[in-house]
Every structure is written in C-alpha cells, then in structure tokens.
Symmetry: C3
Subunit: 299 residues, 3 copies
C-alpha cells in the first residue's frame, strides 16, 4: 500500500515541476482542511495539493475546546457532510481523532490524518519514505537513525511503522531516556542514548523537531545541554556513512537540534522533503477520493 | 418570488449531488463574504455555494467596531465596489444593515442578507421552505409550530414572513412570555406558552437555537428548567401529527432545546436543511447576480 | 520601465470591466500573500489581481515577531520555495524586507513589495501614476503636491521617486516640519509648511493618510489643529488649479486629513485609484512572473 502511494506520488512530482502545476483530477470536489491545532505549514501543503488537483478548499480553523464533547464534533462533521464535502483533512491534538472521525462519517467521504496528538502523522512518514527511495533506491540494505524526542513524536511513530513495513535493515532511535516511549521495545527498533554510537555507519539520519510545548520542563536538561548531547553537528555526523542523508520534518530549530552547517549542507534533503510533501499529498488525496479508502488513518 | 427561488434551487440540488459539483454560471465574478459577526457555518455555506457557481470568493471578517460610523462602512463598501466586486453577502449584528448597504451600493451590485441583528435571515427561511415543500408537497394545509426564543430570532421572523406569504393554514409560536416579541400579535400567528398544547396536531415543528449570548440572564429560568418546559422530547412530540417533520437551523444544543433521540430520529430533517442551504444559496446568488435585484433583503 | 507597467495595466483595466473578469495568464501558478503586517485592503487587491489572472493564492498572515531572526525568515521562504510557489507578495513593517527576500530566493521566483516599513510601496505609486496619466494625459507639464506626513510615508517616498522619474515639472511636499524627513532636500522636491501656499496652481493634489500609529505623539499638535492647518477643504483647494485632481491612497480619515465634500466631490479620483490598483497589480504580476524580474522592489 505504501509502495502504491510512493509510485503515484512519482507522477505528481512531475506535475509540481511544470509551469502549470495543475491537473483536473478533483475538479468540482470539496476538500475541508479541518484543523483543531494550528499549523500554517501542514495546512498549506494540503491546501496547495488540493488546489493543484483542482479541488475547492475550505480552511476551517476550529478551537479544540469548542468540540470537547465527541457528540458536538460529530455534529460539526455531519454538517460538512450535509454540505456535500468530499474529504476531511484532520489535525487534532488528541490521538485517534482522525480514526474516530473516519469511523463515523459516511462511507464515500475520505478522511486523511494530518497529525493526531502523539499518535501518527502518516503523510509525513510517506513523504519521508518517498525521499529515501528517491535517493537511496532501495529500502532493504538501509540503517536508519531517528534522533530526538521519540516519546512525544507522532512523526517518529509513523516513520518507525513505515520503515519496518518497508523492510529496512535496521531502525535505531536515539535520545535521552526521558524522551523514549515506554513501549519502545515493542516497536522493533534499537535504542541508543549516545548520539555518536547511534549514528555509527547509518545511511539515513532523521532529526526530530524539539517540540518544547509538548514536554514537561523537567524532562529536558536545557537547550544548550541538549544540543551538546543530541544536536547534529558536522563533527558528530562523521560517525555515519560518508553518503548518509540528513532529514528533518521541519520547521528546524537551528542550534537546538541541528547545526546550520548540517541543515544547509550537501547531504541535507530537508527542502526536498517539503517538495515531496506536495506530491505525496496529491497522491493520497487522489487515491482516497471517493474510494471509501481511508489511506491516511491506518499508518 | 419565493416560489421562483425554490424552483431554481431544485435544479441546483441536482448539481450538488454530482461528483463534479460545479457549474460555470458565475465564472469570473467576485463574491465578497462581508461578515461583521463571526459565523463559520453560514459563511461556509455561502462560500461553497459561490465556489460551486465558479465565482471567486473573498472572505472578509470585519470587526463591527471598526465601522461604527455609517460613513466608514460606506467607504469600505465603496472600496470593494471600486475593486469591481459583484456581490456582497452581509452579516451584521445590527438590524437593517444589509438593507442599508443595498440602498447605497451601485445598482449592478447584488446584496444578500446573511443575517442582520434580530431582524431577518432570509436565505435560512427560504431553505426551510424548500425543505418543507420537498417533504410535504404543498403549503396550504400545513400547521407549523416555531418553538423557542421568538423575540431574539431573526430566523423566526423570516420564517413567519415566508410561511404566511406561502399561505400555510396556521403558524404557531411557542415559548415563554419573556421570549415573545412585543409586536407578536401583528404577525398573524397563534401564541402558545405550553409546548404540548402548541404542538397539538401540527405538521411541522421548527425548533430555534437557544442563543444564550443574545439574552439578558433574567429572561430565562435556567437551561434545565427551559429544557423541561420547552425542550423537544419524543414524549412531548406525541402531541404532533404522527408524520410531523422536525426542523432546526443549527447548530443544535443537545439536551437544551432538543433531545438527541428527536434530533437524530427518523422525522428529523435537520441535516437535509443544511444540504438544501447550499442549493438555495446557489439559486439566490445566480438569480440576483447582475440583475439589480436584491432578493435577500426584502423578506 | 514604469511606462511599460502603465501600458500593460491599460489592457488589464479592460479585463476588470468585463463580466467575466478573468484571464488565464497565470493558471497553475501559485502566488503567496506573505503579510507580516495586517492589511485587509492591500492584501485583498493583490488577492483579487492574482485570482483574475487565474493563479492559485495562499494568504499567509505571519506575526513579524515569529521571524525576528533573518535566518528564520529565510527558512520560511525556503519552505514556500520548496512547495514550488512562484511569487511572493511581501508586506513587512521593516524597511528593506522585500529587497532582502528578493536577494535570497531562487532566481525564478518573483518578489513584489507590497509595502516595507517607511521605505516604499511601489505598486501604490504605480497605480497613482496610472491614474494621473489617464486623466492628465502627460506628465511633463504637471505640478504635483503631496500633503501630510511625508516622513513616515512609504507611499510618499515611492510617489516622489516615480514622479521625478517620469519627469513632472514640479513635485511639492506640504506638511509640518516635524513630519518632513531629514533627507528631504536630496529628493528634488520643493518643501512647503503652509497648505495654501503649497497648493497654489498645482494640477494634482495627493493627500496622505494620517497614520497615527506611526508617529510619536509629540510630533503632532492634535487632530483638530492638524485638520485646521493641513486638512484639505473646498476653501483651501481654491488655491489649486480649477481642474486639479484629488488623490488619496486610502483608507481616508474624513475630517482629519480631508473634508468629505472634497473626498466625494467631482475632482476626487480616490475610488478610481482603487480600481486602477487591480489593473496595476495584474500588470506587475504578469510581467514579473517567471521572468526573474523583481519589478516591485526597485522603486
């Protein structure tokens, strides 16, 4: 299934490079960006993807507090459904919201998870896989390290799921003990608490954003100490393979989790990830539309 | 006139059920959603209606305070007029604003009232009439009850006007004395203060939203007591005809003015109202555009 | 160069008068309205211009505080660039921001300055020149007076640049000493501190908006006194030529910098300026798109 998405995204990657970056696949369809958590960046990529598929887009910024009762959330959805909207792009700070919505809307409506709590962010993981495949060609021989706040990262959770599904050789997670999820051993990954040890001979380094707002202050030793231990620098990167690629879901915190020389360096693919994000979202949207397939909610 | 709108809306109801929910009637026209009062829901239905007519839409959220002087409001309008906008959809918390605007803009510009103070909400009333006609077929034999805060409801005022114009057999209003308008006897309706007495043998029950922000606190006995007296339950509904249809302009307050079993029950047409709202707004927009006809401001 | 823009705008002025106000010149292109300073009005004219060129538009309202470090601003831009956006319309309260951005984005991306600090607002100046040429025909014989807060006005700065480039006979600036820029003598204009003396026999009067939020309170004697000295009234206007045209970039403060009888009178072209603003922005957008020409940042 992930492979199907990656293959479809290849064709859209071509579209977004053209002067007229538009295909009529979703003309006359209505896509609702239903964001209960503010995110200019992710909303923008979905909005652009929908517009480049020629869909009409509604941006709905909702206060999560306005729909604290599940009942009221369902009324809101039922209303958009009654307006004959075809697809909901859902971001919510509560894990499981997109899945909950997908279970309750009419079968012909597509629901795409644009991030739910600390649970999952499937389109981010898919665009990461797309980026890895474009550069490395094959998943099997790869050792991949994910660095940072694994415990609170829906991105990490989705990446681990995708990488193991695609059969990479090894997934490593690197970070302080306080930022590791309790169930980490069940995820089939190797855990490191030392950055250089964890980076040894890896092919891919995925840095996570340090989301200070997600953490209790006592979990972290302070930005400077964090950077000294887990910040990715050219020096520390020497442990990885010479052609290791550097990824980050953005937005990056320069000097906190990554050094500018690395972020802007020749092995960084951080901006390519953004570009691929549009193609992946076009692929997911066009594949799920009207199919009853809720592609984004599973991973 | 209302009948013309309902007939036109029938053709658009077909469009919104298609996969490509778009007709090119207003291509190249500019519709301005000029909302001085926040309303995601109503704005969204007008925005969708305009986009499905292929118009370009501008969403302008204005603070009512920014245009307290009529002069300044007219300057704002004159500017949008100078930008060659073709239509204003106006919502304002002051009664008469849409009418005031319609009197002052250039004749080729259409003005649609999307709710003004406690005065009128004509497209809501039209979609309600559309829904009644679709289900009941004819207006003449019907007894219709409107329940709730009649005094502060622009929806009720527009519904009463439309129902009497269309010649229904009887319009009843039901609610506490404190929530009846002073001029209620001039409106040609029968007034009830007891819910079951008022519902006796009616064909249509229209519940109003309890807009707590509109009322002085001393007018109401408290939500629970209100619900006990005027909340629509299956039990109380037994007084109405067996095939009585249940309507509500939304958003509903479950357990305040209506019981969930009724709102979600087989006789409820609440979500159909939402669907019809798009068709009605497409009809009103396409009929008024460029005609100099300010359809929405009269009712 | 300015003449080329004015000539191109002539063709678009025709488009905006048609019923279908749309040309497919920028179909499939993505225009980003990147506003770090709130401005419903200017954003709207750019949004309309882009939509009438058939472009897709993203409205991004950014807090200037979120990107205080230049580095972070560049990361934001790099992301939109990676999303294959084609054009940035930039407004910022810091002088030089649009120019800074134009220097750092990829060469195929167009950057249009929609106002930067007290430095420049080039599309405003161009639409003013367009309006003058339409009414007066030729620039050479004209005496033009600009009245108000010259020191803090990016509009005045861009107008003076455009008027001297186009070779008008004389540019005068009129205002209190406290509102004159220190470098005023280098700009090739004549300075007046008395309104009637400055208006003597001019062909064009350009009033500036009194932007109270831009000034330290001690610079101004109070609104009433300002109006008595520098407010444009019918009486004071007698000093100008009988066919002098009256301009204002809007929004106007009635009774502060201009009398209603003048603003709404037969010689006022204030609303025509707004109309021409759309045509000018369509011209600038279509001429710069993909050309690597950053037309808006020079003036």
């Amino acid at each position: 299934m992930i492979i199907d998405v990656l293959d479809t995204a290849e064709s859209f990657a071509g579209v977004t490079r053209r002067t007229v970056k538009k295909v009529p696949l979703l003309r006359g369809r209505t896509v609702v960006n239903l964001f209960f958590e503010a995110s200019t960046r992710t909303r923008t990529t979905f909005e652009l993807a929908a517009k480049r598929l020629s869909a009409d887009v509604l941006n709905i910024q909702m206060a999560a507090s306005a729909t604290t009762k599940g009942e009221t959330l369902l009324d809101t959805l039922a209303n958009f459904e009654a307006m004959q909207c075809d697809m909901f792009i859902v971001r919510h700070d509560r894990s499981g919201t997109a899945h909950f919505i997908a279970r309750h809307v009419a079968p012909h409506i597509s629901v795409i998870n644009a991030g739910d709590g600390s649970h999952a962010h499937p389109t981010q993981a898919m665009l990461d896989m797309f980026t890895i495949r474009r550069i490395k060609g094959d998943f099997y021989p790869l050792s991949v390290a994910i660095v940072g706040d694994i415990a609170h990262s829906r991105v990490a959770r989705s990446q681990i799921h995708a990488l193991t599904t695609l059969g990479v050789n090894e997934v490593r997670v690197i970070g302080p003990k306080t930022l590791m999820p309790k169930d980490i051993n069940a995820l089939g990954v190797h855990v490191y608490h030392n950055l250089e040890a964890g980076l040894r001979d890896v092919d891919v380094v995925i840095m996570l954003r340090l989301q200070r707002e997600r953490m209790d202050s006592e979990l972290l030793p302070g930005e400077l100490e964090y950077y000294q231990q887990y910040g990715l620098t050219e020096e520390k990167l020497k442990a990885a393979k010479a052609d290791a690629m550097i990824m980050h879901p953005g937005p990056i915190n320069r000097g906190v989790e990554i050094e500018s020389a690395v972020a802007d360096g020749p092995r960084s693919v951080i901006l390519q990830q953004v570009t691929h994000g549009i193609a992946i979202r076009m692929a997911v949207m066009s594949m799920t539309m009207g199919s009853g397939l809720d592609l984004g909610t599973e991973t």
